[in-house]
Amino acid sequence: MYSRAYKSLVSVPPLLWVALFLLLPYVLMFAHSFWAVQQGVIVHHWNLNNYKTLFAKPLYVEVLFRTMRIAASVTCCSILLGYPLAYFLSFHARARKELLYQLVIVPLWVSYLVRGYAWKTILGSDGVLNGFLQYLHITHEPVAFLLYSPFAVVLMLTHIYTPFVFLPIYAALEHIPRPLVEASHDLGANSFQTFFRVILPLSMPGLLAGATFAFLLTLGDFLAPLLVGGPSGTMIANVVQSLFGAAFDWPLGAAISVFILMLTISLLFLSEILEKRWAYK
């Protein structure tokens, strides 16, 4: 088989990488979350105060809930857009399938920032949308809530994450053997019954994977709120960013990060369990 030298040659670098850039930062973050700041200096004084602050201060709880609300909205909107699209492509697009598929994928190659600024131009007070609404005399002055609001954040993130939701759903739908759909019709089920009794259950693993993508990616997003969120659209990642930056409260920032990390890990676990439950064959 392989020599000892060869084995260590291929296994040591990646292990070092993981230890240095993954484990060590996590350990540091974990440790920081139990320390404190006194007179602008981080002191290694072990305590649980950061976690207490996180749950006691209405500001953090509110932002946390808003973040989850936004993540849930983005997930729902992406599924509502992505599922029908994937269904149409997989079952009805026929010859145009490849072209449409590429059209869905292309936005993924465009920089996140570019897309963010594009929404800013569209939604702003003298943006494209407001100009259009006034031109049509639907409104007489710029609609303010369009930009710098949770609405804008949901809109932008839905736009960005819909392809992520679309892809696993599309893959799941493509894997459904077509004779199953024919068998369903053959047994007397119309298209609606076939969808809800055969296609939807069999695409659940893909739907779940897509939903997990959208929810978790939104949960950790801080650019969208920064670009289009405004004060009312601030999310938890922005809080962490400011705690590590201007506020210089690394311990509290680390505590929030640890909390978000735990939340993410448990959601991934949950989604994996459900995916296994719904995976047939």
């Binding site: 004779p179 024919e182 068998a183 019709h185 047994l187 007397g188 089920a189 119309n190 009794r197 259950p201």
Partner: protein
């Protein structure tokens, strides 16, 4: 060639008792004619087999009847009602698919109950009928299992129960035995036959296996390149093939190409009297119609010839000989097994067994 009634559909269903009538159906995919002007009646309670090579259009015809495809032209009627304009879920037709197509996310019981559930059958009735259907195919002990836990033969039975529980007027079976191994296929073949007798539902069976078709069917419809070659009972189609293709496809045969001239048929060295119009002719002579002529005598209704045995293939109950009866003229002869045969021998066959066939 076709078994179609000349009557209009309504009259036909009343007078002939046909359950399904296919009238001049054609199907075209792009530029290829998969089915060309097919007309076929299926009687109520009949076991009819669509037999043909791959690409002959047999599966397409089945899919037209099930409703998965629309005919390019022609009509399909069932019990006096137009069938081809109905969506598949409104047809009283059920299909057993080639790969069974069981729903992987449902248990055996829920698979069988599927058709009843989507038609809002009362729950009490569903459980009784599902139970009954599973008993019929001897799968009642597997009601709670997922399809992936079952063997091919077991999945096959569940697929059958799932179709039959709906009490269809017509059951379509698309090569249902082809995915099974040889032994299981033989067993399922006989079970399928007795099941059909028992419940009396009309079966339309698709296969490329002529032996399977012969063993199971009341009638065989042989398809060739999208057209019906011959429709007849297995015995008739074997004994009186209409064309050279049929004769060769169903069982083994010797095709004798020759001509008829002034009341004498001549095929190479073989000659016999035949009162038919002069011209070229093809005859089908089954290998088992030829026998050894031990005493050298022949009846006036028989043809005798000398042949050299070139090869002998032992097949258990019978032997297949390859006999050269003239320069370059070979005949296959099937004899009851009786030990090695070599050299020149006299053979004989009855003139009546040389069946004249079309090209």
């Amino acid at each position: 060639m076709s078994a179609s009634a000349a009557n209009s559909p309504e009259q036909a269903s009343n007078s002939t008792g046909a359950l399904l009538e296919v009238h001049g159906v054609a199907k075209r995919f792009g530029s290829s004619d998969v089915l060309k002007n097919i007309s076929l009646d299926i009687a109520s309670g009949e076991f009819l087999t669509l037999l043909g090579e791959s690409g002959s259009g047999k599966t397409t015809l089945l899919r037209l009847i099930a409703g998965f495809e629309q005919p390019t032209s022609g009509e399909i009627w069932m019990s006096g009602e137009r069938l081809d304009t109905l969506p598949p879920y409104k047809r009283r037709v059920n299909t057993v698919f080639q790969q069974y197509a069981l729903f992987p996310h449902l248990s055996v019981r829920d698979n069988v109950a599927y058709g009843l559930r989507v038609k809002n059958t009362p729950a009490v009735e569903i459980s009784g009928r599902v139970e009954e259907a599973l008993r019929m195919v001897k799968m009642q002990d597997f009601a709670g299992a997922r399809p992936s836990k079952l063997s091919g033969g077991q999945q096959q039975r569940v697929a059958l129960a799932r179709a039959l529980v709906n009490r269809p007027q017509l059951l379509l079976l698309d090569e249902p035995l082809s995915a099974l191994d040889a032994n299981l296929r033989m067993q399922m073949r006989s079970e399928l036959k007795s099941l059909q007798r028992e419940i009396g539902i009309t079966f339309l069976f698709v296969t490329h296996d002529q032996e399977e078709a012969m063993a199971l069917s009341d009638r065989v419809a042989l398809l060739r390149n999208g057209a019906l070659e011959q429709v007849a009972s297995p015995r008739e189609i074997y004994a009186r093939p209409a064309t050279a293709y049929t004769a060769q496809f169903i069982g083994q045969t010797n095709l004798l190409r020759g001509e008829i001239l002034r009341g004498i048929a001549t095929c190479g060295v073989l000659r016999w009297p035949l009162e038919e119009a002069d011209g070229p002719a093809i005859f089908s002579l089954r290998p088992e119609a030829i026998r050894l002529c031990a005493d050298g005598k022949r009846q006036t209704t028989e043809v005798k010839f000398n042949g050299a045995v070139r090869q002998q293939l032992y097949g258990g109950a019978t032997e297949l000989l390859e006999v050269e009866c003239g320069p370059g003229q070979f005949l296959r002869v099937r004899l009851p097994a009786s030990g090695p045969i070599t050299g020149e021998n006299e053979f004989v066959f009855s003139i009546a067994d040389a069946i004249r066939v079309q090209e």
